[in-house]
Symmetry: C2
Subunit: 156 residues, 2 copies
DNA sequence: TCTCTTATTGAAAATGATTCCCATTATCAA
DNA sequence: TTGATAATGGGAATCATTTTCAATAAGAGA
């Protein structure tokens, strides 16, 4: 089975097994939901989507899987100050990489990709320097700008 | 009374009144606690500190005041993925400005100031461009690096 | 393909941070 | 000093997330 096609451990099942985990129906379904959208989904959003296809999958499993995927570095976990976390699939390492403008009033979130090249360059240097200086293994980063969106600016 | 000394609305009471709020004992106490520390305090941490001096101040008031100060831009609110928010006084606009390395395992947080000049320069340009393009009023930003601290790296 | 180990799951209960409610109190402009 | 009302605090309510634990299913090895 190994080497049948493509490099070893390619694809999600391989990624999981490579880490000693098993590929299961709920996990598969959760990953698919995350891959099919560009939105920032909450655990409950994902639960409801999965539920349409596999009604037996529980919310607990969704939470567990999201934690696992976050720790594996396959998804991002965000706090947009709504009181619940939101998740997003990690896209290609450079392609589609973006950060967020968060409206502190209506909680709207805007993806932006401007400055990303410059930003990546800056972050790369920072990561290198900081990981050396603090002996810290950096896996991930977030940049978020908080403020008021166009709609919330006008309404006071 | 106005103009007695210093510019109008200097000091905390002035800042509050200028926004139509009142200066109260609980607010004063909460601000003092935040100003006296370099740590990242949770609402409960602050509550306990305040409680030493003013035992009658309630946790609800601490939460309300923290939200107010955050909205006023006087303190930062952080999510270090512990399940509770932590707060920090906004220091002078450039002095002491720093960002964070967050250990995703033990939740330890390291303040760093390296690259801050470069970072501020970068952020200034980004804010200018983004606020124009998205008609977004940017008030604040966060940069956080997530990973494993030196202690958590060795223990697997 | 069958077996066995154990990783994973789901339902329900627990947890715990934050918010809501509302009668009471305190601030401060006039 | 006074009055309008902003602010408070205690307890209850919310609600996202975690824990518990018995049942189930993945998948390595036979
Ligand atoms: Mn996004
Ligand atoms: Mn800090
Ligand atoms: Zn908005
Ligand atoms: Zn650590």
């Amino acid at each position: 089975m190994v080497g049948r096609r493509g490099p070893m451990s390619s694809g999600w099942p391989g990624k999981f097994r490579g880490c000693g985990y098993r590929m299961t129906v709920p996990r598969q379904a959760i990953i698919e939901v995350l891959q099919k959208t560009k939105k920032h989904l909450s655990a409950e959003d994902i639960y409801m989507e999965v539920h349409k296809i596999f009604p037996q999958v529980g919310l607990t499993t969704v939470y567990r899987t999201l934690e696992l995927l976050t720790d594996m570095g396959m998804i991002y976990k965000f706090d947009f100050r709504e009181g619940r976390a939101r998740y997003e699939m990690v896209e290609g390492l450079k392609k589609e990489h973006h950060h967020h403008l968060v409206c502190t009033k209506c909680k709207r979130v805007i993806n932006y990709t401007e400055f990303i090249d410059e930003e990546i360059d800056f972050l790369k240097r920072a990561e290198k320097e900081l990981s050396k200086k603090y002996n810290f293994e950096i896996n991930d980063h977030i940049i978020q700008f908080y403020g008021l969106c166009d709609k919330c600016r006008v309404s006071k």
